[in-house]
C-alpha cells in the first residue's frame, strides 16, 4: 500500500513538472511573440485573396524575417485620398504600402510629387551591397534598373515588374472570329483587307440581332496599346510611340517617323476608316474599365480591338468570350512593312515606405526579401509542391520552350490564400515567368497571350537596340518628351479634327512636332 502511494506521489510530481515546463514554454513563446516588431502594411483588398493576414505568403515572410506583419485595407473608392492622408498621418500608423499589380492607384506623377514633398522614405539608407534590391538594380535591359528606379540618387519604391515575353510586346490586335465565320471572311493580312473585313462587320449584322449596333474596330486614348490605329500605322512605317516614334531611315539615322510620307499615308487610311464608321470614336475617351465592359458584353457588339494582353480587355473567367477572339499577326503594308513594337521592361511601384513609418528598416527588410527568387516564386505560384513544382526536363512552357515551373494547382485569377495576387514588390526572373507549363485550359489567358506574342516576335524592329544605346539616349528621351504634341496631332488627323489630305495642315503638324526644322 505504501509503495502504491509512493508511486502515485511520483506520478503526480511528474505530471506537475510536465505541466510546469509546458506552461513555461508557452508563456515564453507568448512573450517572444509579444516582443516581435509589428510591421503594418496598407494594401487594397482583392477579391482573389481570401485574407492577407492569414495568407501563406504572409506566414512565409513572417517566418523568414521574424516580424509580425499586419495589414490595413485601403478604403475602397477613396484610395487616393487614403494614400495621401496616410502619408500625412501621425507617425507609425502605416509602415509600408503595397500597390496592386494593375498600377491603378497612383499615377507616376502623383508618386513623384509625394517624393518631392518629402512624404516618402528614401530606401537608400537601408540598401546594402548584398541586398536583393541592389542586385536587381544592375539587371534587365541596356538601361539599368538603377536609372529607372532612382530619382536623383534616391530610391522611393520597390518595383513590381512583369518579365513575361507578353509584356515585351506593346500590342496585339484581336478580332471577332465568330463574326468572320458568320460572314465567311478571312483573317486580314493587309490594311486593305482589314478595311474590307471591317466594312462587312459594319454593314452585315454579324451578331444577328437585327440592330446596327456593331462597333467594327474600337480604340481608346487611355494608353498606346489600346489605340488600335497604332497597330495599323505599323504596316506603313515603324510606329513606336514608346520611343518617340523614331525609326532608322535609309541613311542609318535615327529620325522621326511622323514626318515621313509613309506615316501620312497610314494616317490617311486610318482617317478614312474613321470617316466610314469603321474605327469608332465613341469609346475613344472611355476608361479601360468601360472598354472592357463593352468587349465583355453579351450583346457581342465589338469586332476588333488592340491590347497588350487579352486579359486587359476580357475577363479571364469568361471562356466563351475568350474563345470568340483570335489574334491577327502584324499587318503587311504595300511596301512590305510589317512591324511590332518591342517594349522595355517597365517597373511599376510595388511597395513604398511612408516617411512617417515607425519601422522603415523592418519594412524595407520585408520588401527586399520579396525581391528574392524564393519569395517571387511564392508570390507568383503559391506553395512549392502543393501549388507548383520545378518542371522535369521535356515539359513545355506556354511559350513552347523548356518549362521551369509546373503548376499543380492553378491559382492565378482564382480565389486563394497563398499569395497577394500580384500586389506588392514582385520581380520574377524572366526564366521562371516564361517557363510555366500550360494547364491544358484553352481559355487560359497566359496561353492565349503566349500564342499571340509568338506571332509578333518575328516582326520586332531589328534596329530597336539603337533606342537604348548610350549615345542616343538623350535624343530618344527628347522625342519621348515631345510625344504629347505628336499624339494629339495624330488623334486629330484620324478623328477628323484636322484634314490629313491638306498639305497645309500637314505642314503645320510637322512644324509642331519638329519645330527646329
Amino acid at each position: 500500500m505504501k509503495q502504491l502511494l509512493k508511486n502515485k506521489f511520483i506520478s503526480v510530481l511528474l505530471i506537475c513538472a510536465v505541466v510546469a515546463i509546458i506552461s513555461y514554454l508557452y508563456i515564453n513563446r507568448q512573450q517572444q511573440e509579444d516582443k516581435r516588431t509589428i510591421v503594418t502594411i496598407a494594401v487594397r483588398q482583392d477579391d482573389n485573396v481570401q485574407n492577407f493576414d492569414t495568407n501563406y505568403y504572409t506566414k512565409w515572410l513572417e517566418d523568414q524575417t521574424g516580424y509580425d506583419i499586419r495589414f490595413e485595407y485601403i478604403s475602397e473608392g477613396y484610395e487616393k485620398e487614403y494614400l495621401y492622408a496616410m502619408l500625412n498621418s501621425e507617425r507609425g500608423r502605416i509602415d509600408a504600402v503595397f500597390l496592386p499589380e494593375d498600377e491603378s492607384l497612383l499615377t507616376e506623377e502623383e508618386f513623384s510629387n509625394y517624393a518631392g514633398e518629402g512624404l516618402l522614405y528614401d530606401m537608400k539608407e537601408c540598401m546594402t551591397e548584398d541586398c536583393h534590391f541592389t542586385a536587381l538594380l544592375e539587371q534587365y535591359d541596356s538601361i539599368s534598373m538603377r536609372e529607372k528606379l532612382s530619382e536623383d540618387g534616391s530610391f522611393y519604391y520597390i518595383p513590381n515588374m512583369d518579365t513575361t515575353r507578353k509584356n515585351r510586346n506593346m500590342q496585339v490586335m484581336w478580332i471577332n472570329m465568330g463574326w468572320l465565320k458568320e460572314l465567311g471572311l478571312k483573317l486580314p493580312e493587309t490594311p486593305e483587307e482589314l478595311c474590307t473585313v471591317l466594312l462587312a462587320f459594319r454593314g452585315s449584322d454579324p451578331n444577328g440581332n437585327g440592330l446596327s449596333d456593331e462597333l467594327p474596330l474600337i480604340s481608346c486614348e487611355s494608353s498606346y496599346e489600346l489605340q488600335s490605329y497604332n497597330f495599323i500605322l505599323n504596316a506603313y512605317i515603324y510606329n513606336d510611340p514608346l520611343h518617340g516614334r523614331l525609326y532608322v531611315d535609309e541613311n542609318g539615322n535615327l529620325t522621326s517617323a511622323v514626318t515621313e510620307p509613309a506615316f501620312r499615308e497610314g494616317l490617311r487610311v486610318c482617317a478614312n476608316m474613321y470617316a466610314q464608321g469603321l474605327l469608332t470614336e465613341e469609346c475613344n475617351h472611355y476608361s479601360k474599365r468601360q472598354l472592357m465592359e463593352l468587349v465583355n458584353s453579351p450583346l457581342d457588339c465589338v469586332g476588333a480591338f488592340t491590347s497588350q494582353s487579352i486579359a486587359d480587355m476580357i475577363y479571364p473567367n469568361c471562356p466563351d468570350i475568350l474563345a470568340r477572339f483570335i489574334q491577327i499577326p502584324p499587318l503587311t503594308g504595300a511596301t512590305g512593312e510589317q512591324n511590332a513594337v518591342y517594349c522595355d521592361y517597365e517597373p511599376s511601384v510595388g511597395g513604398y515606405i511612408p516617411a512617417n513609418s515607425a519601422h522603415p528598416r523592418e519594412a524595407f527588410e520585408i520588401m527586399d526579401l520579396m525581391l528574392s527568387e524564393e519569395a517571387a516564386l511564392v508570390a507568383s505560384f503559391g506553395e512549392e509542391n502543393e501549388d507548383w513544382k520545378f518542371s522535369e526536363s521535356g515539359d513545355l512552357s506556354t511559350y513552347s520552350s523548356q518549362a521551369m515551373i509546373t503548376t499543380l494547382q492553378y491559382i492565378t485569377d482564382t480565389v486563394q490564400n497563398k499569395h497577394y495576387a500580384g500586389a506588392g514588390p514582385l520581380v520574377l526572373s524572366a526564366e521562371h515567368a516564361n517557363g510555366v507549363t500550360w494547364n491544358g485550359n484553352n481559355s487560359l489567358v497566359e496561353y492565349l497571350d503566349a500564342r499571340a506574342v509568338r506571332s509578333y516576335e518575328g516582326c520586332y524592329y531589328e534596329d530597336r537596340e539603337l533606342f537604348t544605346s548610350e549615345e542616343r539616349l538623350t535624343y530618344v528621351q527628347e522625342a519621348i518628351d515631345a510625344s504629347e504634341q505628336t499624339d494629339k496631332g495624330i488623334s486629330q488627323f484620324i478623328f477628323g479634327e484636322r484634314d490629313i489630305t491638306s498639305d497645309e495642315e500637314w505642314a503645320d503638324f510637322q512644324n509642331e512636332v519638329n519645330p527646329s526644322e
Binding site: 465567311g184 478571312k186 471562356p319 474563345a323 521535356g394 520552350s401 500550360w438 500564342r451 509578333y456
Partner: protein, 399 residues
C-alpha cells in the same frame, strides 16, 4: 481481488479490441470505394440510360435540373452551347474546355472525392485511358439515344458513343509549297526539314500521343517504307523497332509545341514562323476558311493519318442527367440528323458517324492512308511509350 480486477480489465480490453477490429472491418466494407460503387449502381438505375424518352420529355425533365456542366476537349462545344440554349430556353450549359489527359485525371479525382460536378464528357480516347480507367470501372457511361442508334455507323456506338470522326494527320504549309512536298514518311528525317516540322508535345496532347504511338505500333510498315525510301533494308538494332528509329531521327527536325492550335498557326498564319510540315488534328481544317494556308497530306507511305474519333459520355453521378441526354441527342443532330447541334462539327477535317449524314470532309477515309487507333495496344504499352517520349523530349525541346 487485484488479480480478479486485472483479469476483468484484461478481458475488457480484449473485448474492446475485438469490437474495434470488427468495427474497422465493417468500415472497410463500407469504405469510400464500395460506397461509391453502390452510389453508382443507384445512379445508373435512376439515370435510366437505356430509356426511350423523347426530346420533349427530356426537355421538360431537364427544366427541373441545374446547369449542365461539360468537360470538353473541343472549343466548338461553345457554339453548340449557344444554339442549344436557344433551342431549349431555360436550360443553361457551362463548358470547361480542357485537355484530354486532364479530363481523365479530373474525373478520377472527382470520383474519388465523390464530387459529381461534371455531367457530360467530350473527349477522344487516344491512349485507352478513357475506356480502361473511366468507362470500364463505371465512372463514365455511354448514352446512345434509342432512336438514333440505328443510324450509327458500325463501331461508333458500342462501348462509347462517337459523335464525330476526326484524325491526327500530316499537313503542309501552302504558303511554302504549292503541292504536297513528301510522299514517304522517312523524308521527314532529312536535314532540310530541320526545325521545319511542328507538332504538339505527345505527352500533353492526347490525340498526338495516339498518333505517335500508332506509328510505333506499325513498325513493320515503317520498316517497309524505309526500304522503299532508301532502297536498303532498315538496320534495326536489337531491342529497338523501326517505329522507334523513325521517331528518334524525326524528332531532331521537330519543334514541339503545346497544341494543334499552335501547329495550325505555325504552318498556316502570316506570323506563324513559317514551318513546312505540321502534325495536328484534322478538325483544324475548318480554319482554312479563315485564311490559314495549310493543306492535308492524304497519301503518304506508309501512313498519313490516324483516325481518332471523338466520343461523348455521361459522367456517373451526374445530377443533370436529363439535360445531359438531351445535349447528346442535340450533338448528334437529333433523330433525323437535321438538328443544329451537329453543325459546328460538320466541317472539313471531320467524318460523319451517321449513315444518314454525309461526310463533311471532301475526301472519304477510304481514300486516305489512314489507320485506326488501337486503344488496347496503347493502353498496354502506355508506360513504355511515355518513357520513350520523355527521353526523346528531354533532348529535343527548345531551350
Amino acid at each position: 481481488m487485484n488479480k480478479e480486477c486485472n483479469m476483468i480489465s484484461r478481458k475488457g480490453i480484449m473485448i474492446l479490441c475485438m469490437m474495434l477490429m470488427i468495427g474497422l472491418t465493417g468500415c472497410a466494407d463500407n469504405g469510400p470505394d464500395s460506397r461509391r460503387v453502390k452510389e453508382m449502381e443507384q445512379w445508373v438505375q435512376t439515370a435510366n440510360l437505356s430509356g426511350t424518352e423523347s426530346a420533349e420529355e427530356l426537355y421538360q425533365a431537364a427544366l427541373e435540373e441545374d446547369t449542365l456542366v461539360i468537360y470538353s476537349v473541343s472549343s466548338r462545344v461553345f457554339d453548340v452551347k449557344d444554339t442549344f440554349e436557344k433551342e431549349y430556353p431555360g436550360l443553361t450549359v457551362e463548358v470547361k474546355d480542357i485537355r484530354g489527359d486532364d479530363i481523365v485525371n479530373k474525373l478520377l479525382d472527382n470520383y474519388e472525392k465523390g464530387e459529381f460536378c461534371c455531367d457530360l464528357v467530350i473527349c477522344s480516347d487516344c491512349d485507352g485511358r478513357l475506356n480502361k480507367e473511366l468507362l470500364e470501372p463505371g465512372i463514365l457511361y455511354p448514352y446512345i439515344p434509342w432512336d438514333i442508334a440505328p443510324q450509327m455507323k458500325e463501331g461508333h456506338a458500342d462501348r462509347e458513343l462517337v459523335f464525330v470522326g476526326e484524325a491526327l494527320m500530316f499537313f503542309y504549309n501552302e504558303g511554302v509549297f504549292d503541292k504536297q512536298p513528301i510522299s514517304n514518311i522517312w523524308e521527314l528525317t532529312e536535314e532540310q526539314y530541320k526545325n521545319r516540322i511542328i507538332m504538339a508535345n505527345p505527352l500533353s496532347s492526347f490525340s498526338t500521343y495516339g498518333f505517335c504511338t500508332a506509328v510505333l505500333s506499325e513498325s513493320d510498315k515503317i520498316a517497309e517504307a524505309y526500304e522503299e525510301y532508301s532502297g536498303d533494308a532498315l538496320v534495326i538494332p536489337e531491342g529497338k523497332t523501326a517505329g522507334e528509329i523513325f521517331w528518334e531521327q524525326a524528332v531532331k527536325n521537330i519543334v514541339f509545341t503545346n497544341s494543334s492550335d499552335e501547329v495550325m498557326e505555325g504552318i498556316g498564319s502570316a506570323g506563324g514562323g513559317g514551318y513546312w510540315i505540321g502534325i495536328m488534328i484534322s478538325s483544324k481544317m475548318r480554319y482554312q476558311e479563315l485564311g490559314y494556308h495549310f493543306a492535308p497530306i492524304y497519301r503518304l507511305n506508309p501512313l498519313s493519318t490516324v483516325y481518332t474519333p471523338n466520343t461523348v459520355t455521361i459522367a456517373g453521378g451526374s445530377k443533370n442527367v436529363n439535360a445531359a441526354k438531351l445535349f447528346v441527342r442535340y450533338l448528334l443532330g437529333e433523330t433525323d440528323g437535321t438538328g443544329e447541334g451537329i453543325v459546328p462539327f460538320r466541317t472539313e477535317g471531320t467524318w460523319s458517324v451517321r449513315m444518314d449524314i454525309p461526310d463533311a470532309n471532301s475526301v472519304p477515309l477510304s481514300e486516305i492512308d489512314c489507320i485506326p487507333i488501337n486503344e488496347e495496344y496503347l493502353y498496354e504499352n502506355m508506360d513504355t511509350m511515355s518513357e520513350f517520349w520523355k527521353e526523346l523530349l528531354k533532348e529535343n525541346v527548345t531551350p
